[in-house]
Amino acid sequence: MKLDTDAKIVWCPGCGNYSILKAFKNAVGELPQTVKPEKMVVVSGVGCHGKIANYINLSSFHGIHGRVPSLMAGIKLANAELTVVGFSGDGDTFNEGLVHLMHAAKKNINATLIVHNNKVYGLTTGQASATSPRGFRGKSTPEGNPEDPFNTVALMLVAGATFVARAFPGDIKHLTEIIKQAIMHKGFSFIDVLQPCVTFNNTWDYYRKSVYKIEETPSTLDEAIKLAYSSTPTKIPIGIFYKKDKQTFEELVRVEETGIGVEKVLELME
């Protein structure tokens, strides 16, 4: 199946998004036969990342800013057989719609969320987001961002996500592998992608120097959280932080019965 579309890609040359797109397409190609591309649905938010829906030849919903997790949840509740992969931005996910992200993780919706975490609002031309470093000079923080960034992996661990990973587009093979595993995971899987934004927050060199691969996925939540907090500017772990089996929300709440009919129900109300 051809995964490219005819849409012209309009990301800046050198943007980390190209590698995310590439890795995702690779991953889809390498997935086991059980995961059929026809049964995949891509959901994206609004931001530079959001355009990705136009570049992948799969069913997709290019939704609105901040609501990717809710759209994924609705789709999974409507048809639990679909493989749903969301793409969202850091502003999208950790600012505008953080509440949805936290609850999708809590519910353990069986879907994958890939966050294009460029630590800046790209499409709106460079404001600080919830993951921008303290001191970041953006258009709304010309004197420097006064806030510390969220520890996104720790947030997801505490929220209850059952698959939590981080990856770097500079290593497409590794990113591909993580995406594959996330999609194969049954439950809510979250990938924090350290995406360089060449225009507003060019972190290629910085990450190239500082990322290292997690050797073994921690076996307890406690250790996973510790690992999440072990990041330093010169040592940033990428890989899978945590993975756990748990019943999915859809399995628990979907009503499969067809019902007894309105006529009969009305009789019960006499």
Binding site: T5, A7, K36, E38, K39, V41, V46, K51, A53, N54, N57, L58, S59, S60, F61, H62, G63, I64, R67, S70, L71, M72, A73, G74, I75, K76, L77, A78, N79, E81, L82, V99, H100, M102, H103, V253, R254, V255, E257, T258, G259, I260, V262, E263, K264, V265, L266, E267, L268, M269, E270
Partner: protein
Amino acid sequence: MDFSFIISGMAGDGIKSTSMVAGKMFSRLGYYVFIDNEYQSLIRGGHNFSIVRVSDKKIWGHRRRSELLIALQDYTISPHNEYVDRVIFDSSGFDYPEGEGIPMTAFAKEVGAPTGFRNAAAIGALCYMYGVDIGNLNKIYKDAFGDKAEKDILLAEKGYKYASENLKQMEKVQRAGNPKPILDGNQASGLGAVKAGLKDYYAYPMTPASSLLHFLASMKRKLGVTVVQPENEISVAIMAIGSAFIGRRAMIGTSGGGFALMHEAISLAGMAEMPILCLESQRGAPSTGLPTYNAQEDLKFVLHAGHGEFPRIVASPGDTEDAYYLGGELLNLSWKYQSPAILLTDRYLSENLATCDIDVDRVTEEPLPLYSGDNSDYRRYSMTESGVSPLAFPPDAMVNATGNEHDEYGFTIDTEKESTEMYAKRMRKEEGIREDVKKMDAVRVFGNGTNVLFTWGSTTGVAVEAASEIGDIKVVQIRYLSPFPDWEIEKLEIDKAVTVECNYTGQLRSLLKEHGRINSKLIGNWGGRQFSIEQLAEKLKEAFE
């Protein structure tokens, strides 16, 4: 036959369930029953009351005048005193010399039940007073509570016996027909939607929409509906759009404050052409307002929900049956035209209980405009004359939906010509909707003459009864508010026009001015209460003088 009685007490006294049992006593004998439940936004204490009205003819609202008050708390007597003939009270709780006491609390103690059960004794007494066989009452308890009904039944019998020894009977009530279902407007709308194919219901609790959430949750397996309470209203609306994208009919419910949070999603539904049906039940506003009281203040707010232009279908039911029909009609229209639809109702209709004669099969699940072409070249937004693009859903076809302006395939565009055309395609759907609504009851007309009283929502029922008391008034309920039925308005011969609605500015009146060039007099009310029939009759007399 047409009488009312009131049951009053505090929150926690079970006024609502008591009045429901009392109502069923009569509805199962074939009577029409209407129960107005008034309560405050608190969980224990305060003053709650239900007015139970019983008649052998179809009834639509409450009368303030009642023949009986059953008071479980002393301070709940005086607010009703001037409207009632007799007062029955819990004589082991307090004293009220002018009333007729029943030692309800003492009875509860005797049977080893918590005080909260004592209302069963009152119902037992009522049963005697109206000459109803106590076996009927006991069956109601059993149907409702199964084995747990034992104490209620014991208490009801004690109340019955005590009344038979101490209290004067009222006019006796005979069986008048077959049992009737008794339900609230929200439940009716939910059932109408289920009949039209509802599969997913999403809602965040909010009075007065919550009764639908509770009803569907408790009946989900009997109705075949998945019921989910997401983290907030934004998620509610977006999840429903997710369902719609996959082809599952979804519905959501909320009140004004929650609906305010859904505007962005409504606009997305407009652009992405996703059908969603939202029940918006109005309560006193703005903001948190009067959270448990009635209002009709959100009409224009709802008509213009969501930024930008797109077809919005809005209708408001006038009574419980109507709530059922509109639940079905709107879900069908929403899907046929792939546009958001809003069922705009209000506290009075949403929560009050009424017996009803629903013609269940008047609602059907209408077929969708399905795509039948080659799945490998499916265009979600194919350009058509009607504006309606044939539907397919994943995984049957590759479907691309979006909130951005787009080409036929659903990919983002921003060129002037293509944007202009796609926008017009969406807007053209309004013509089809209009033609369809023309074939439905866009308005309902009651009575004759050239004195015309315009209504919408639950005020309709009260107005019909009040008008019929006065005579010579034609009540016109505007059922569809968008598209606005100007074609019906044009047909009317009007001498004097009055609009009645539970708001301050006269929102329907202003629509009539815009669309129908009708200048009408406004009877408004904005204190959180629906008019009683007597009250409105008074005002109509003045207005049409």
